[in-house]
Symmetry: none
DNA sequence: GCCGATCCTTACGCGATCCTTACGGCCGCG
DNA sequence: CGCGGCCGTAAGGATCGCGTAAGGATCGGC
Protein backbone atom coordinates (compact mmCIF):
# COMPACT_ATOMS: atom_id res chain seq x y z
CA UNK A 1 0.00 0.00 0.00
CA UNK A 2 2.53 2.48 -1.18
CA UNK A 3 2.17 5.69 0.74
CA UNK A 4 -1.26 5.14 2.23
CA UNK A 5 -1.22 7.26 5.37
CA UNK A 6 -2.59 5.64 8.53
CA UNK A 7 -3.34 7.46 11.76
CA UNK A 8 -2.88 5.17 14.76
CA UNK A 9 -4.70 6.23 17.92
CA UNK A 10 -3.83 4.28 21.06
CA UNK A 11 -2.65 5.18 24.51
CA UNK A 12 -0.37 2.17 24.96
CA UNK A 13 3.06 2.87 23.54
CA UNK A 14 3.69 -0.82 23.08
CA UNK A 15 0.74 -1.29 20.73
CA UNK A 16 1.53 1.85 18.80
CA UNK A 17 5.06 0.63 18.30
CA UNK A 18 3.91 -2.84 17.25
CA UNK A 19 1.46 -1.45 14.74
CA UNK A 20 3.90 1.10 13.36
CA UNK A 21 6.50 -1.57 12.64
CA UNK A 22 4.03 -3.90 11.02
CA UNK A 23 2.42 -1.21 8.90
CA UNK A 24 5.62 0.42 7.78
CA UNK A 25 6.94 -2.98 6.80
CA UNK A 26 4.00 -3.22 4.42
CA UNK A 27 4.46 0.15 2.83
CA UNK A 28 2.05 2.20 4.90
CA UNK A 29 2.97 5.63 6.16
CA UNK A 30 2.23 6.07 9.86
CA UNK A 31 1.32 8.96 12.13
CA UNK A 32 0.31 8.54 15.77
CA UNK A 33 -1.98 10.06 18.34
CA UNK A 34 -2.33 9.16 22.02
CA UNK A 35 -5.44 10.85 23.35
CA UNK A 36 -8.84 11.48 21.84
CA UNK A 37 -8.42 15.22 21.53
CA UNK A 38 -5.15 14.71 19.76
CA UNK A 39 -6.73 12.15 17.44
CA UNK A 40 -9.37 14.56 16.19
CA UNK A 41 -6.77 17.27 15.63
CA UNK A 42 -4.41 14.94 13.79
CA UNK A 43 -7.20 13.57 11.62
CA UNK A 44 -7.74 17.13 10.46
CA UNK A 45 -4.14 18.28 10.11
CA UNK A 46 -2.58 15.12 8.72
CA UNK A 47 -5.42 14.17 6.40
CA UNK A 48 -4.82 10.41 6.73
CA UNK A 49 -6.28 7.81 4.37
CA UNK A 50 -7.27 5.49 7.23
CA UNK A 51 -7.66 5.81 11.01
CA UNK A 52 -7.01 2.94 13.42
CA UNK A 53 -8.70 3.85 16.69
CA UNK A 54 -8.45 2.10 20.01
CA UNK A 55 -11.64 2.43 21.99
CA UNK A 56 -10.04 2.48 25.43
CA UNK A 57 -8.68 5.98 25.53
CA UNK A 58 -8.13 7.77 28.84
CA UNK A 59 -9.61 11.14 28.03
CA UNK A 60 -12.54 10.52 25.69
CA UNK A 61 -14.95 7.76 24.88
CA UNK A 62 -13.93 6.08 21.65
CA UNK A 63 -17.36 6.43 20.10
CA UNK A 64 -17.24 10.14 20.82
CA UNK A 65 -13.97 10.36 18.89
CA UNK A 66 -15.59 8.63 15.95
CA UNK A 67 -18.50 11.02 16.11
CA UNK A 68 -16.25 14.07 16.22
CA UNK A 69 -14.29 12.95 13.19
CA UNK A 70 -17.46 12.07 11.32
CA UNK A 71 -18.71 15.59 11.75
CA UNK A 72 -16.53 16.69 8.89
CA UNK A 73 -14.66 13.69 7.45
CA UNK A 74 -15.56 10.39 5.85
CA UNK A 75 -12.12 8.86 6.31
CA UNK A 76 -12.35 5.08 6.91
CA UNK A 77 -12.10 4.26 10.61
CA UNK A 78 -11.10 0.84 11.91
CA UNK A 79 -11.85 0.41 15.58
CA UNK A 80 -9.78 -1.78 17.93
CA UNK A 81 -11.13 -2.93 21.26
CA UNK A 82 -10.73 -5.56 23.93
CA UNK A 83 -14.49 -5.63 24.37
CA UNK A 84 -16.16 -8.29 22.30
CA UNK A 85 -19.73 -7.73 23.40
CA UNK A 86 -22.05 -7.41 20.44
CA UNK A 87 -23.60 -4.25 21.81
CA UNK A 88 -20.18 -2.60 21.82
CA UNK A 89 -19.59 -3.48 18.19
CA UNK A 90 -23.00 -2.21 17.18
CA UNK A 91 -22.50 1.03 19.05
CA UNK A 92 -19.12 1.71 17.50
CA UNK A 93 -20.20 0.83 13.98
CA UNK A 94 -23.35 2.90 14.25
CA UNK A 95 -21.31 5.79 15.59
CA UNK A 96 -19.60 5.83 12.21
CA UNK A 97 -16.79 3.29 12.34
CA UNK A 98 -16.21 1.14 9.26
CA UNK A 99 -14.77 -1.95 10.90
CA UNK A 100 -14.38 -3.39 14.39
CA UNK A 101 -11.55 -5.73 15.37
CA UNK A 102 -11.35 -7.41 18.76
CA UNK A 103 -8.01 -7.52 20.58
CA UNK A 104 -5.98 -9.61 20.53
CA UNK A 105 -5.98 -9.71 16.75
CA UNK A 106 -3.91 -11.34 14.04
CA UNK A 107 -1.74 -8.80 12.31
CA UNK A 108 -2.33 -10.43 8.92
CA UNK A 109 -6.07 -10.04 9.25
CA UNK A 110 -5.70 -6.45 10.35
CA UNK A 111 -3.53 -5.66 7.37
CA UNK A 112 -6.02 -7.33 5.03
CA UNK A 113 -8.85 -5.28 6.50
CA UNK A 114 -6.79 -2.13 6.08
CA UNK A 115 -6.18 -3.00 2.46
CA UNK A 116 -9.90 -3.51 1.99
CA UNK A 117 -10.60 -0.09 3.45
CA UNK A 118 -7.88 1.58 1.42
CA UNK A 119 -9.19 0.00 -1.75
CA UNK A 120 -12.52 1.79 -1.49
CA UNK A 121 -10.93 5.21 -1.55
CA UNK A 122 -9.86 5.08 -5.15
CA UNK A 123 -12.07 6.82 -7.62
CA UNK A 124 -13.08 4.05 -9.96
CA UNK A 125 -12.05 4.89 -13.46
CA UNK A 126 -14.96 4.27 -15.76
CA UNK A 127 -14.59 2.12 -18.86
CA UNK A 128 -15.16 5.09 -21.10
CA UNK A 129 -13.78 4.61 -24.58
CA UNK A 130 -14.29 6.94 -27.49
CA UNK A 131 -16.42 4.55 -29.53
CA UNK A 132 -16.83 7.10 -32.29
CA UNK A 133 -14.68 8.15 -35.19
CA UNK A 134 -15.27 11.01 -37.58
CA UNK A 135 -13.24 11.54 -40.73
CA UNK A 136 -14.67 14.32 -42.79
CA UNK A 137 -18.14 13.33 -43.97
CA UNK A 138 -17.61 9.81 -42.72
CA UNK A 139 -18.92 9.01 -39.24
CA UNK A 140 -18.33 5.63 -37.59
CA UNK A 141 -20.01 4.56 -34.34
CA UNK A 142 -18.03 1.63 -33.01
CA UNK A 143 -20.48 0.90 -30.19
CA UNK A 144 -23.46 0.57 -32.51
CA UNK A 145 -21.54 -0.57 -35.57
CA UNK A 146 -23.23 2.16 -37.55
CA UNK A 147 -21.75 4.12 -40.39
CA UNK A 148 -22.99 7.40 -41.80
CA UNK A 149 -21.68 9.31 -44.74
CA UNK A 150 -22.90 12.92 -44.85
CA UNK A 151 -25.77 11.93 -42.55
CA UNK A 152 -26.97 9.05 -44.69
CA UNK A 153 -26.93 5.68 -42.89
CA UNK A 154 -24.99 2.92 -44.60
CA UNK A 155 -25.42 -0.74 -43.86
CA UNK A 156 -22.15 -2.69 -43.77
CA UNK A 157 -21.65 -6.37 -43.14
CA UNK A 158 -19.43 -7.66 -40.39
CA UNK A 159 -16.15 -7.95 -42.29
CA UNK A 160 -16.81 -4.77 -44.20
CA UNK A 161 -17.23 -2.88 -40.95
CA UNK A 162 -14.17 -4.40 -39.31
CA UNK A 163 -12.11 -3.45 -42.33
CA UNK A 164 -13.35 0.13 -42.43
CA UNK A 165 -12.90 0.51 -38.67
CA UNK A 166 -9.29 -0.63 -38.96
CA UNK A 167 -8.67 1.95 -41.65
CA UNK A 168 -10.46 4.66 -39.70
CA UNK A 169 -8.39 4.03 -36.60
CA UNK A 170 -5.33 4.78 -38.69
CA UNK A 171 -6.92 7.50 -40.77
CA UNK A 172 -4.44 9.27 -43.04
CA UNK A 173 -1.80 6.59 -42.69
CA UNK A 174 -1.16 3.63 -44.91
CA UNK A 175 -2.24 0.29 -43.51
CA UNK A 176 -0.45 -2.56 -45.23
CA UNK A 177 -2.13 -5.62 -46.69
CA UNK A 178 -0.79 -8.00 -44.03
CA UNK A 179 -1.88 -5.67 -41.23
CA UNK A 180 -5.43 -5.53 -42.50
CA UNK A 181 -5.58 -9.23 -43.20
CA UNK A 182 -4.27 -10.17 -39.78
CA UNK A 183 -6.70 -7.90 -37.99
CA UNK A 184 -9.83 -8.89 -39.88
CA UNK A 185 -9.20 -12.43 -41.09
CA UNK A 186 -6.50 -13.67 -38.75
CA UNK A 187 -2.86 -14.52 -39.18
CA UNK A 188 -3.60 -17.56 -41.27
CA UNK A 189 -4.82 -15.43 -44.18
CA UNK A 190 -2.21 -12.69 -44.18
CA UNK A 191 -1.32 -13.49 -47.78
CA UNK A 192 -4.81 -13.58 -49.26
CA UNK A 193 -4.70 -10.11 -50.76
CA UNK A 194 -7.61 -10.88 -53.07
CA UNK A 195 -9.93 -10.83 -50.03
CA UNK A 196 -9.08 -7.16 -49.66
CA UNK A 197 -9.80 -6.34 -53.28
CA UNK A 198 -13.27 -7.79 -53.08
CA UNK A 199 -14.22 -6.22 -49.77
CA UNK A 200 -12.67 -2.82 -50.40
CA UNK A 201 -14.67 -2.78 -53.58
CA UNK A 202 -17.90 -3.52 -51.77
CA UNK A 203 -17.25 -0.85 -49.16
CA UNK A 204 -16.53 1.73 -51.81
CA UNK A 205 -19.72 0.83 -53.64
CA UNK A 206 -21.68 1.58 -50.48
CA UNK A 207 -19.85 4.74 -49.44
CA UNK A 208 -19.21 6.48 -52.73
CA UNK A 209 -21.62 7.86 -55.27
CA UNK A 210 -19.19 7.66 -58.14
CA UNK A 211 -17.44 4.29 -58.01
CA UNK A 212 -14.85 5.39 -60.52
CA UNK A 213 -13.41 8.01 -58.15
CA UNK A 214 -13.36 6.75 -54.58
CA UNK A 215 -13.49 9.63 -52.12
CA UNK A 216 -12.49 7.77 -48.98
CA UNK A 217 -10.38 4.68 -49.43
CA UNK A 218 -7.25 5.11 -51.51
CA UNK A 219 -5.01 2.42 -52.87
CA UNK A 220 -1.25 2.32 -52.40
CA UNK A 221 -0.15 -0.09 -55.12
CA UNK A 222 1.70 -3.06 -53.77
CA UNK A 223 1.59 -1.79 -50.19
CA UNK A 224 -1.87 -1.30 -48.74
CA UNK A 225 -4.80 1.07 -48.36
CA UNK A 226 -5.48 4.25 -46.46
CA UNK A 227 -8.46 6.29 -45.43
CA UNK A 228 -8.13 9.81 -46.77
CA UNK A 229 -8.20 12.64 -44.26
CA UNK A 230 -10.43 15.60 -45.17
CA UNK B 1 -32.09 1.37 5.98
CA UNK B 2 -34.90 2.50 3.79
CA UNK B 3 -34.78 0.59 0.57
CA UNK B 4 -31.14 -0.47 0.63
CA UNK B 5 -31.09 -3.53 -1.57
CA UNK B 6 -29.14 -6.52 -0.29
CA UNK B 7 -28.25 -9.58 -2.33
CA UNK B 8 -28.05 -12.68 -0.13
CA UNK B 9 -26.02 -15.56 -1.53
CA UNK B 10 -26.26 -18.80 0.38
CA UNK B 11 -27.16 -22.34 -0.54
CA UNK B 12 -28.97 -23.14 2.69
CA UNK B 13 -32.62 -22.15 2.47
CA UNK B 14 -32.80 -21.86 6.23
CA UNK B 15 -30.10 -19.21 6.44
CA UNK B 16 -31.53 -17.29 3.51
CA UNK B 17 -34.87 -17.27 5.21
CA UNK B 18 -33.40 -16.17 8.53
CA UNK B 19 -31.45 -13.34 6.95
CA UNK B 20 -34.35 -12.22 4.81
CA UNK B 21 -36.66 -11.89 7.79
CA UNK B 22 -34.08 -10.05 9.88
CA UNK B 23 -33.10 -7.68 7.10
CA UNK B 24 -36.61 -6.91 5.95
CA UNK B 25 -37.58 -6.19 9.52
CA UNK B 26 -34.92 -3.47 9.50
CA UNK B 27 -36.03 -1.88 6.28
CA UNK B 28 -33.67 -3.58 3.86
CA UNK B 29 -34.89 -4.85 0.54
CA UNK B 30 -33.78 -8.42 -0.16
CA UNK B 31 -33.03 -10.49 -3.22
CA UNK B 32 -31.54 -13.96 -3.10
CA UNK B 33 -29.18 -16.19 -5.01
CA UNK B 34 -28.32 -19.79 -4.32
CA UNK B 35 -25.28 -20.66 -6.39
CA UNK B 36 -22.21 -18.71 -7.36
CA UNK B 37 -23.05 -18.29 -10.99
CA UNK B 38 -26.48 -17.06 -10.10
CA UNK B 39 -24.88 -14.62 -7.69
CA UNK B 40 -22.75 -13.01 -10.38
CA UNK B 41 -25.71 -12.69 -12.70
CA UNK B 42 -27.90 -11.20 -9.99
CA UNK B 43 -25.23 -8.74 -8.97
CA UNK B 44 -25.37 -7.48 -12.53
CA UNK B 45 -29.10 -7.51 -13.13
CA UNK B 46 -30.31 -6.42 -9.69
CA UNK B 47 -27.66 -3.80 -9.00
CA UNK B 48 -27.77 -4.34 -5.23
CA UNK B 49 -26.28 -1.90 -2.73
CA UNK B 50 -24.65 -4.67 -0.71
CA UNK B 51 -23.85 -8.34 -1.24
CA UNK B 52 -23.83 -10.88 1.57
CA UNK B 53 -21.90 -13.89 0.35
CA UNK B 54 -21.53 -17.27 1.99
CA UNK B 55 -18.16 -18.79 1.16
CA UNK B 56 -19.34 -22.39 1.18
CA UNK B 57 -21.23 -22.57 -2.09
CA UNK B 58 -21.64 -25.85 -3.92
CA UNK B 59 -20.73 -24.79 -7.43
CA UNK B 60 -18.00 -22.15 -7.13
CA UNK B 61 -15.30 -21.10 -4.75
CA UNK B 62 -16.46 -18.11 -2.79
CA UNK B 63 -13.34 -16.09 -3.50
CA UNK B 64 -13.89 -16.74 -7.20
CA UNK B 65 -17.35 -15.25 -6.91
CA UNK B 66 -15.86 -12.16 -5.30
CA UNK B 67 -13.35 -11.88 -8.10
CA UNK B 68 -15.98 -12.23 -10.78
CA UNK B 69 -18.09 -9.47 -9.31
CA UNK B 70 -15.05 -7.27 -8.79
CA UNK B 71 -14.28 -7.49 -12.51
CA UNK B 72 -16.86 -4.82 -13.14
CA UNK B 73 -18.50 -3.72 -9.90
CA UNK B 74 -17.39 -2.08 -6.67
CA UNK B 75 -20.49 -3.04 -4.70
CA UNK B 76 -19.66 -3.70 -1.01
CA UNK B 77 -19.35 -7.42 -0.30
CA UNK B 78 -19.70 -8.89 3.17
CA UNK B 79 -18.45 -12.46 3.38
CA UNK B 80 -19.89 -15.07 5.73
CA UNK B 81 -17.98 -18.22 6.59
CA UNK B 82 -17.69 -20.93 9.20
CA UNK B 83 -13.93 -20.85 8.81
CA UNK B 84 -12.20 -18.59 11.29
CA UNK B 85 -8.61 -19.21 10.24
CA UNK B 86 -6.78 -15.96 9.68
CA UNK B 87 -5.47 -17.07 6.30
CA UNK B 88 -9.04 -17.53 5.10
CA UNK B 89 -9.98 -14.05 6.15
CA UNK B 90 -6.94 -12.53 4.47
CA UNK B 91 -7.59 -14.42 1.26
CA UNK B 92 -11.23 -13.35 1.08
CA UNK B 93 -10.49 -9.72 1.90
CA UNK B 94 -7.66 -9.53 -0.58
CA UNK B 95 -9.88 -11.09 -3.21
CA UNK B 96 -11.99 -7.97 -2.93
CA UNK B 97 -14.37 -8.52 -0.03
CA UNK B 98 -15.03 -5.59 2.30
CA UNK B 99 -15.83 -7.46 5.50
CA UNK B 100 -15.58 -10.98 6.86
CA UNK B 101 -17.92 -12.35 9.53
CA UNK B 102 -17.49 -15.77 11.11
CA UNK B 103 -20.53 -17.99 11.59
CA UNK B 104 -22.26 -18.23 13.93
CA UNK B 105 -22.70 -14.49 14.16
CA UNK B 106 -24.87 -12.11 16.13
CA UNK B 107 -27.55 -10.62 13.96
CA UNK B 108 -27.20 -7.23 15.62
CA UNK B 109 -23.52 -7.06 14.72
CA UNK B 110 -24.24 -8.15 11.17
CA UNK B 111 -26.86 -5.46 10.79
CA UNK B 112 -24.47 -2.86 12.19
CA UNK B 113 -21.78 -3.92 9.73
CA UNK B 114 -24.27 -3.73 6.89
CA UNK B 115 -25.22 -0.23 7.94
CA UNK B 116 -21.53 0.70 8.00
CA UNK B 117 -21.12 -0.61 4.47
CA UNK B 118 -24.30 1.03 3.24
CA UNK B 119 -23.21 4.34 4.70
CA UNK B 120 -20.08 4.46 2.56
CA UNK B 121 -22.11 3.88 -0.53
CA UNK B 122 -24.08 7.10 -0.30
CA UNK B 123 -21.86 9.87 -1.57
CA UNK B 124 -20.29 7.52 -4.06
CA UNK B 125 -20.06 8.71 -7.60
CA UNK B 126 -23.00 6.52 -8.42
CA UNK B 127 -24.16 7.35 -11.94
CA UNK B 128 -27.66 7.49 -10.51
CA UNK B 129 -28.35 3.90 -11.45
CA UNK B 130 -32.10 3.95 -11.89
CA UNK B 131 -34.31 1.21 -10.55
CA UNK B 132 -36.41 1.48 -13.67
CA UNK B 133 -35.65 1.62 -17.32
CA UNK B 134 -37.96 2.72 -20.09
CA UNK B 135 -37.12 2.16 -23.71
CA UNK B 136 -40.02 3.19 -25.87
CA UNK B 137 -42.96 0.94 -25.03
CA UNK B 138 -40.73 -1.33 -22.98
CA UNK B 139 -40.66 -0.72 -19.25
CA UNK B 140 -38.33 -2.64 -16.94
CA UNK B 141 -38.53 -2.46 -13.17
CA UNK B 142 -35.19 -3.75 -11.94
CA UNK B 143 -36.26 -3.70 -8.29
CA UNK B 144 -39.41 -5.75 -8.72
CA UNK B 145 -38.11 -7.77 -11.68
CA UNK B 146 -41.18 -6.81 -13.63
CA UNK B 147 -41.43 -6.08 -17.31
CA UNK B 148 -44.21 -4.28 -19.14
CA UNK B 149 -44.61 -3.68 -22.81
CA UNK B 150 -47.17 -1.00 -23.67
CA UNK B 151 -48.66 -1.48 -20.21
CA UNK B 152 -49.13 -5.22 -20.55
CA UNK B 153 -47.28 -7.20 -17.88
CA UNK B 154 -44.88 -9.85 -19.14
CA UNK B 155 -43.61 -12.73 -17.06
CA UNK B 156 -39.94 -13.54 -17.61
CA UNK B 157 -37.91 -16.30 -16.02
CA UNK B 158 -34.69 -15.55 -14.11
CA UNK B 159 -32.22 -15.99 -16.92
CA UNK B 160 -34.51 -14.25 -19.35
CA UNK B 161 -34.72 -11.26 -17.06
CA UNK B 162 -31.00 -11.18 -16.32
CA UNK B 163 -30.32 -11.18 -20.03
CA UNK B 164 -32.80 -8.42 -20.76
CA UNK B 165 -31.52 -6.35 -17.84
CA UNK B 166 -27.97 -6.60 -19.13
CA UNK B 167 -29.12 -5.42 -22.53
CA UNK B 168 -31.24 -2.65 -21.05
CA UNK B 169 -28.34 -1.39 -18.98
CA UNK B 170 -26.44 -0.84 -22.22
CA UNK B 171 -29.46 0.19 -24.26
CA UNK B 172 -28.47 1.32 -27.72
CA UNK B 173 -25.00 -0.14 -27.52
CA UNK B 174 -23.99 -3.54 -28.73
CA UNK B 175 -23.28 -6.10 -26.03
CA UNK B 176 -21.08 -8.86 -27.37
CA UNK B 177 -21.79 -12.56 -27.03
CA UNK B 178 -18.96 -13.17 -24.54
CA UNK B 179 -20.03 -10.23 -22.42
CA UNK B 180 -23.57 -11.51 -22.13
CA UNK B 181 -22.49 -15.08 -21.53
CA UNK B 182 -19.97 -14.13 -18.86
CA UNK B 183 -22.42 -12.06 -16.89
CA UNK B 184 -25.41 -14.37 -17.07
CA UNK B 185 -23.86 -17.83 -17.33
CA UNK B 186 -20.28 -17.35 -16.12
CA UNK B 187 -16.89 -17.40 -17.77
CA UNK B 188 -16.99 -21.13 -18.29
CA UNK B 189 -19.76 -20.74 -20.87
CA UNK B 190 -18.48 -17.73 -22.76
CA UNK B 191 -18.41 -19.78 -25.95
CA UNK B 192 -21.89 -21.28 -25.74
CA UNK B 193 -23.52 -18.86 -28.14
CA UNK B 194 -26.46 -21.19 -28.66
CA UNK B 195 -27.66 -20.38 -25.13
CA UNK B 196 -28.17 -16.84 -26.31
CA UNK B 197 -30.10 -17.87 -29.40
CA UNK B 198 -32.54 -19.89 -27.37
CA UNK B 199 -33.11 -17.33 -24.65
CA UNK B 200 -33.18 -14.29 -26.91
CA UNK B 201 -35.80 -16.14 -28.92
CA UNK B 202 -37.90 -16.78 -25.84
CA UNK B 203 -37.68 -13.17 -24.71
CA UNK B 204 -38.69 -11.93 -28.11
CA UNK B 205 -41.64 -14.30 -28.20
CA UNK B 206 -42.88 -12.76 -24.97
CA UNK B 207 -42.21 -9.13 -25.86
CA UNK B 208 -43.12 -8.94 -29.50
CA UNK B 209 -46.41 -9.48 -31.22
CA UNK B 210 -44.88 -10.26 -34.58
CA UNK B 211 -41.99 -12.66 -34.03
CA UNK B 212 -40.74 -12.11 -37.57
CA UNK B 213 -39.94 -8.45 -36.88
CA UNK B 214 -38.52 -8.01 -33.38
CA UNK B 215 -39.10 -4.47 -32.17
CA UNK B 216 -36.71 -4.44 -29.24
CA UNK B 217 -33.77 -6.81 -29.38
CA UNK B 218 -31.70 -6.53 -32.53
CA UNK B 219 -29.03 -8.88 -33.73
CA UNK B 220 -25.56 -7.93 -34.88
CA UNK B 221 -24.46 -11.01 -36.77
CA UNK B 222 -21.32 -12.53 -35.40
CA UNK B 223 -20.92 -9.86 -32.73
CA UNK B 224 -23.76 -9.61 -30.24
CA UNK B 225 -27.17 -8.13 -29.50
CA UNK B 226 -28.47 -4.71 -28.64
CA UNK B 227 -31.62 -3.22 -27.25
CA UNK B 228 -33.00 -0.70 -29.71
CA UNK B 229 -33.44 2.83 -28.48
CA UNK B 230 -36.71 4.49 -29.52
C1' DG C 1 -39.63 -37.90 -2.35
C1' DC C 2 -42.82 -35.64 -5.58
C1' DC C 3 -44.07 -31.98 -9.00
C1' DG C 4 -43.99 -27.95 -11.77
C1' DA C 5 -41.03 -24.55 -13.60
C1' DT C 6 -36.88 -23.58 -15.60
C1' DC C 7 -32.83 -24.65 -17.96
C1' DC C 8 -29.85 -27.29 -21.15
C1' DT C 9 -29.15 -29.86 -25.31
C1' DT C 10 -29.82 -31.14 -29.93
C1' DA C 11 -31.44 -30.87 -34.57
C1' DC C 12 -32.96 -28.54 -38.72
C1' DG C 13 -34.36 -24.93 -42.28
C1' DC C 14 -33.32 -20.63 -44.11
C1' DG C 15 -31.16 -16.42 -45.39
C1' DA C 16 -27.18 -13.44 -45.25
C1' DT C 17 -22.57 -13.39 -45.71
C1' DC C 18 -18.34 -14.91 -47.24
C1' DC C 19 -15.14 -17.32 -50.31
C1' DT C 20 -13.76 -18.61 -54.78
C1' DT C 21 -13.10 -18.07 -59.44
C1' DA C 22 -13.11 -15.70 -63.66
C1' DC C 23 -12.57 -11.74 -66.57
C1' DG C 24 -11.26 -6.99 -68.27
C1' DG C 25 -8.59 -2.65 -67.70
C1' DC C 26 -4.45 -0.09 -66.65
C1' DC C 27 0.40 0.40 -66.54
C1' DG C 28 5.57 -0.29 -67.17
C1' DC C 29 8.92 -3.00 -69.43
C1' DG C 30 11.22 -5.74 -72.62
C1' DC D 1 3.51 -4.97 -79.70
C1' DG D 2 3.17 -8.73 -76.29
C1' DC D 3 3.52 -9.74 -71.54
C1' DG D 4 2.97 -9.91 -66.62
C1' DG D 5 1.90 -7.62 -62.30
C1' DC D 6 -1.65 -5.24 -59.93
C1' DC D 7 -6.16 -3.70 -59.43
C1' DG D 8 -11.32 -3.58 -59.64
C1' DT D 9 -15.84 -5.91 -60.85
C1' DA D 10 -19.09 -9.56 -61.15
C1' DA D 11 -21.50 -13.81 -59.98
C1' DG D 12 -22.28 -18.46 -58.27
C1' DG D 13 -21.75 -21.84 -54.78
C1' DA D 14 -20.15 -23.00 -49.99
C1' DT D 15 -20.43 -21.77 -45.42
C1' DC D 16 -21.85 -19.43 -41.40
C1' DG D 17 -24.90 -17.60 -38.15
C1' DC D 18 -29.59 -17.06 -36.70
C1' DG D 19 -34.14 -18.47 -35.13
C1' DT D 20 -37.39 -22.19 -33.89
C1' DA D 21 -38.99 -26.29 -31.91
C1' DA D 22 -39.06 -30.15 -28.84
C1' DG D 23 -37.46 -33.57 -25.52
C1' DG D 24 -34.79 -34.54 -21.54
C1' DA D 25 -32.22 -32.99 -17.37
C1' DT D 26 -32.14 -30.28 -13.38
C1' DC D 27 -33.62 -27.26 -9.89
C1' DG D 28 -36.40 -25.31 -6.03
C1' DG D 29 -40.56 -25.62 -3.20
C1' DC D 30 -43.66 -28.39 -0.67
Amino acid sequence: MDGTKVLIVDDEAQIRRFLRIALEAHGFQVVEAIRGQDAVARAASENPDIVILDLGLPDMDGKAVVGRIREWSSVPILVLSVRQAEAEKVAALDAGADDYVVKPFGIAELLARLRALARKRRPDAGPAEPAELTVGELHIDLARREVRVAGRAVRLTRKEFDLLAMLARNAGRIVTHPQLLRQVWGRAHENDVHYLRVFIGQIREKLDDDPAHPRFILNEPGVGYRLLLP
